[in-house]
């Protein structure tokens, strides 16, 4: 897949590369958001972009999420392919109406496609507190017409962003802040995409299906290593796309293992894990050999202080405990 001399690329660099390559490939692609121009974005994803692509393809906007998401929708309808940066995913709440009412329903209502991507840097583990840590994906999961993706590796980050930009629908791209500089790998030289709607088995296993996404994937793999020593063989399914869900991949894994853990960083009640669980018990009930366990954050805002946030976030131990429980079921 890659040559030995290639360098490792971080998750964040993978995102930059995808943007850069797509902007070079397709002049309809342009970026807008807060402080993405000369500053290069709060996380420096678009550093140097304005110099390279010009002021009108990398636009610093006023501080107005609804306004600039709406502008992206309008531009998308005119045949552009805007990529919006939320400074933090938390602020997407300010653009909620434009996303759910306008972007999501537009094609259904009158056939006008909205090929737009919203990049949403999300997630905790960086001591951001209640307003800079949120995992808001479930807010949009109940809105037909949207696509949601949430990569866990640099490879997927790059390939999914390219696929999102080429998609003719509004896609929210959840990029996990915790992974930005922590996840690294060597990427292919050549152009590739990761198709939207396809999950990926990150670790094959026989005993238990662990279904997850985002920053929980490395955590799940870590747990799997430990459980291997206990002869519990975890299969780790990385959803990658949250909407539309890859139902077949989920069910296929469950049919094999008969036991399921669903894991996400977002709070439990009403999280995407609920849907996964419901799908399984609806379509795979006869294969189940135990309860479908969910591991998720407790139902609170994300607290700031380190001991609180540590308590809040799902941990390797939680996976171990659940897996051991299921193994003896």
């Amino acid at each position: 897949m890659t040559t030995a001399i290639s360098q490792e690329v971080t998750y964040l660099e993978a995102i930059s590369q995808a943007l850069d390559e797509e902007m070079s490939r397709d002049e309809r692609v342009f970026l807008l958001g807060e402080d993405i121009g000369p500053y290069g974005g709060a996380f420096r994803v678009t550093e140097g972009f304005q110099k390279k692509f010009g002021d009108w393809r990398v636009l610093d906007t006023p501080l107005a999420e609804s306004g600039f998401v709406g502008a992206a929708i309008g531009a998308a309808m005119m045949g552009m392919r805007p990529v919006v940066e939320m400074q933090f995913a938390d602020f997407i709440s300010c653009a909620f109406d434009q996303i759910t009412e306008v972007a999501a329903k537009n094609h259904y209502r009158w056939g006008a496609a909205v090929p737009m991507v919203i990049r949403a840097p999300y997630g905790g583990g960086i001591h951001g507190g209640p307003f800079h840590s949120v995992c808001p994906e479930a807010w949009f999961f109940h809105t037909p017409g949207l696509k949601l993706v949430a990569p866990s590796t640099p490879y997927d980050a790059k390939g999914l962003l390219k696929a999102a930009i080429r998609d003719n629908n509004p896609v929210i791209y959840f990029e996990h802040k915790f992974l930005y500089r922590r996840a690294k790998e060597v990427l292919p030289e050549e152009d590739y995409i990761v198709p939207i709607g396809k999950a990926d088995v990150k670790r094959t296993g026989r005993d238990i299906s662990l279904i997850t996404y985002g920053a929980m994937v490395p955590l799940a793999l870590e747990a799997a290593e430990i459980l291997e020593k206990e002869a519990i063989d975890l299969e780790v399914v990385d959803l990658r796309t949250l909407l539309p869900l890859d139902q077949e991949a989920i069910l296929e894994s469950v049919r094999k293992t008969s036991k399921v853990i669903v894991l996400h960083e977002a709070t439990k009640t009403g999280g995407i894990g609920a849907e996964i669980s419901a799908l399984i018990s609806e379509y795979c009930f006869d294969h189940l050999d135990g309860p479908i366990l969910r591991i998720a954050a407790p139902d609170t805002p994300v607290p700031y202080s380190p001991p609180l946030e540590e308590f809040f976030l799902p941990k390797v131990d939680d996976v171990l405990r659940a897996a051991r429980q299921l193994a003896t079921y």
Binding site: F30, W56, R57, L59, T61, P62, A64, S66, G67, F68, V69, G70, A71, A72, I73, G74, A75, A76, M77, M78, G79, M80, P82, D97, Q98, E101, V102, N106, H107, Y108, R109, W110, G111, A112, A113, V114, P115, P144, G145, K147, R166, D167, N168, N169, I196
Partner: protein, 345 residues
């Protein structure tokens, strides 16, 4: 609220607008005004007969605004309309039969039964569909204008809003963005003095909506929204301004909502005298008077146009009534745009 159209300097074209409108255009404007009125009256009649299931919002008495601005646009331009812009739909090429099919929920309507009444859109005709959530269309208008600007095209976007819609945050965010980036977009506002039952003084702390535009440094004017020549000539001027790269304008059209908010609403909260006063300023009366005064048309010419319109609407109603309803499973179609199809120019 008293109207004070003359408070600001009015350019020449506003004092004698008709002198700038050719006879052919004037007659065409009359045709569209009358077409809009007749079409909407027919929709109202159908509503009263219980043949329209959803709500009906008309531009009755306000037709000059959407007719005037739309007539000033060119083929590649785009409109982001509000809910009382029937004239603009017609001028942009939406056929009465399609519109009636839409009201009847037929498959032959522009949304194939998916959406209701004035929620029609058609990119090929440069029409963004109205979004119920008021002011949501205004950021979209800035985005379309931005696309034109990025691509170096000379097209222009016209967005329209009611007075009520200007209180929403999206109005603010859109106008600000348009101003900062000097986008080729013109904002019209139909100030019909009410938002549903809420009179202007409970909506804003200034007498005129146009005061809002000052916050953005957007040039603005108040005009008589019931005079189609005034609207048309003003629209021409500010659209040209935008087309030539000088950025957005804001035009407040003073007018009056002559029906209820929707056809179910008897609008008892509106003082009778106000309605009577505005009835005398009816845009169709105004244009008929002007046409006669200018010697552009006599009664028989007008009658001829009226007859033509009535026939057109009769045929359209027939088409709509005979059109098939969509079938249940069509519900499931169209949530996503095809991934591989290149849908845009």
């Amino acid at each position: 609220m008293s109207m004070d159209i003359e408070r600001r300097e009015s350019p020449e074209d506003r004092r004698q607008p008709f002198s700038k409108v050719s006879k052919a255009d004037y007659l065409q404007l009359y045709y569209y005004l009358f077409l809009t009125r007749t079409l909407e009256d027919r929709v109202t009649a159908l509503y009263r007969q219980g043949r329209i299931v959803g709500g009906v919002y008309t531009s009755h008495g306000m037709e000059a605004i959407s007719v005037g601005y739309a007539y000033a646009l060119e083929a590649g331009d785009v409109i982001a309309p509000m809910h009382r812009d029937m004239g603009a739909f017609l001028i942009r090429g939406m056929k009465p039969k399609e519109i009636l099919a839409q009201y009847l929920g037929k498959r032959t309507g522009p949304t194939k039964g998916k959406d209701a009444n004035v929620h029609m859109g058609d990119l090929k005709r440069g029409i963004f569909a109205f979004v119920s959530h008021l002011a949501d269309n205004l950021p979209l208008a800035t985005g379309a204008a931005l696309a034109f600007k990025i691509r170096g095209q000379s097209q222009v976007v016209v967005a329209n809003t009611g007075d009520g819609g200007t209180s929403r945050g999206d109005f603010h965010e859109a106008l600000n963005f348009a101003a900062v980036r000097k986008l080729p977009v013109v904002f019209f506002c139909c100030n019909n003095q009410y938002a549903y039952s809420t009179p202007l003084e409970l909506q804003m702390g200034t007498p005129d909506v146009v005061d809002r535009a000052k916050a953005y440094g957007i040039p603005s004017e108040i005009i008589d929204g019931n005079d189609v020549a005034v609207v048309y000539v003003t629209a021409q001027r500010v659209i040209k301004h935008a087309r030539e790269g000088h950025g957005p304008s804001f035009i407040e059209c003073k007018t009056m909502r002559m029906h209820g908010h929707a056809e179910h609403d008897s609008a008892k909260y509106v003082p009778k005298e106000l309605l009577e006063e505005w009835k005398r300023k009816d845009p169709i009366l105004k244009v008929e008077h002007a046409l006669k005064t200018m010697g552009y048309a006599d009664e028989s010419v007008l009658m001829e146009i009226q007859e033509r319109v009535k026939k057109e609407i009769d045929t359209a109603v027939e088409f709509a009534e005979e059109s098939p309803l969509p079938e249940g499973p069509e519900t499931l179609e169209g949530v996503y745009a095809e991934t591989l199809e290149e849908v845009h120019v």
